[in-house]
Amino acid sequence: MNRNRGARPTQVVTMVVAVILVAGALAACSSGQKSGAKSNPKANTTSGANAGELVGLFRLTPGAAKGNQITGTWFRMVQPQGDAQHGPYMINANSRADGGQVTLLKPGTSGGLRTEGYQSEPTPAFDSGGHSLADAITTPTPFFGVNFSISTNRVDPQTKPAVAPPTVTLKDGKLTADLASWSASWNKQNFNQGAPKPVPNTAAKAPGQEKAQRVWDWVAGKYLDAAPKPTVTGSAATGTFDPKTRAFVLQWSSHIEGGPFNGFTGLWHLEGIFEPGQRAPG
């Protein structure tokens, strides 16, 4: 009895310290999420967004055309053997912007792109007419008579590897984004349009080869000090960020590899306002 009585104050103190530590850790985590940045070397109270990873919603500004001037969020498709600067571009009869050479995009139900999480395509991904049903990032938009849209997926629907969720990093006012999971869906087809590009995992495999490869990669990594194989290739999306207004611009080009539009290139331009917040649901 005496021994128990003597032990109680120690236990209480230990519990209090543990609760304080846990509460402190949770508070630190939540404040990090609220500030929208994982690391916080240069706190910026005006914008709420700091140097480091920007976690939250990149709310998209709808695309608009005034004469030859295109603003907001848009997309172009370069034909094979063309180049990003001069085209030739596909002329989308459903768009009036730049004679159909530009397709204007509107934000979807989420308002735009969320980082550090996926905005996956629904199941089914298409209706019977081939129109894309993914509507979180952008509103499904007519492209040659059939609606196309965007999603970010844990496993890329076209190239098949597991890909990281979108991340955007701010450094010296410049944005660098890993958008490897950016996938366009149109007419019952999926096209990876990410930057950098995921390394495809679609080659034919003998029975058991995939498991054997996984075992070998583990052994090579653990005992042979082999560097893990790259999962993405090419350059990331880049852009600018205004810390005062939190206005951002992200742009990149992405070559289509495989499928019916092998060799075509998508040019993407996202504009909008960054809203620091929580990660996207998984």
């Binding site: 989308n92 159909g100 081939g130 040659f144 034919a204 003998a206």
Partner: protein, 332 residues
């Protein structure tokens, strides 16, 4: 009673001659067939790995699997309907141009479409004809059971042959029969596989399928189909927008409307087929290399593959029997 020994007298047995036993005939280990078996085992084990047989067979399987939805009767019927709609649409556009005397340059996208329409139709018809003609052979190839397991069977037979030949050359004699039995079983499995899996029929069909698909499975063909797609998709856009205002008669209107309304289906079918062709060019090339493998040993293409397996399996079984240790014949 006491006189009895005297009557019989003393027993005097002659000295028995020594018993001689024939010396055991020494066992003979036939080295030549065992060494040949060892060599065969090494070739069967490492040949498929070094020669990339696993990848080639897997590529062939993937090609067959990915083409499956496009080889079904309803898919081919839908493709033919798409083509008929495109033809009617092109005729309708021509009709409107002639009736309204539309000058060149008023609808530049449709001008280009009119120039290319017959070429596009010819190429698409040719593509569909080839795919349809390849159907029966495709189905025979698809019916091969466990095609992607063939390399495993060969390697397994090779490993058994290596093990068995080592037992026959260096192991205890009492294990020899067991090892020979195992090798005969492996050889029999390899020899019987072509007959049990429809490989014989399928390989003949595969050899015919390759040249049938050869003009289709090229990068140039894919690029041409993509160019045709761009012309069609842009023409469809023009028909849905600027060209709508141009007056037309009922026949032309019906053709154009049918094409425009069906465009999502047409574009989906066409895109899907072009995608499968593009994504399987590498697989097709691998299958062509597989076809070339039996030719290296003097057999005819893929059709020779079953007989190659029968020959190798029989050789394995035959050599294992020949390598079984046996007694030497007595020499006089």
């Amino acid at each position: 009673m006491s006189a009895l020994p005297q009557i019989l007298g003393p027993l005097d047995l002659p000295q028995a001659p020594p018993v001689t036993r024939a010396a055991a005939t020494p066992m003979r280990r036939p080295k030549a067939p065992a060494l040949a078996l060892l060599a065969l085992g090494v070739v069967l084990t490492f040949g498929p790995i070094v020669g990339g047989l696993f990848a080639k067979v897997a590529s062939g399987k993937q090609l067959i699997d990915q083409f499956a939805p496009h080889m079904e009767a309803d898919a081919l019927a839908r493709d033919n309907t798409d083509l008929a709609r495109l033809r009617r649409g092109a005729a309708g556009v021509d009709g409107v141009y002639l009736r309204q005397r539309l000058p060149e340059g008023r609808f530049p996208i449709l001008d280009e479409y009119r120039r290319q329409a017959s070429g596009i139709d010819g190429r698409a018809t040719n593509l569909l004809d080839r795919v349809e003609a390849a159907g029966p052979d495709y189905r025979r190839v698809a019916a091969i059971g466990g095609f992607d397991r063939v390399p495993f069977l060969i390697v397994a037979c090779g490993l058994v042959a290596i093990y068995g030949s080592c037992v026959l050359l260096f192991g205890r004699r009492n294990r020899a029969r067991w090892a020979v039995g195992l090798m005969m079983l492996a050889g029999a499995a390899l020899s019987m596989y072509p007959f049990l899996s429809d490989l014989r029929t399928g390989a003949h069909a595969g050899e015919r399928l390759l040249p049938q698909l050869a003009p289709v499975m090229t990068r140039e063909n894919v690029r041409q189909l993509q160019r045709d797609f761009v012309v069609l998709v842009e023409a469809d856009g023009e028909l849905e927008t600027g060209f709508r205002k141009v007056p037309r008669n009922a026949t032309a209107a019906a053709g154009i409307t049918a094409m425009v309304n069906a465009w999502p289906t047409i574009s989906s079918d066409l895109a899907s087929l072009v995608g499968v062709i593009n994504d399987n060019i590498h697989n097709y090339n691998e299958l062509e290399q597989l076809d070339a493998l039996p030719r290296r040993v003097g057999l005819s293409g893929l059709a020779g593959l079953p007989w190659l397996l029968v020959g190798v399996g029989s050789a394995c079984a035959g050599l294992s029997v020949a390598a079984l240790p046996r007694r030497r014949k007595e020499t006089r």
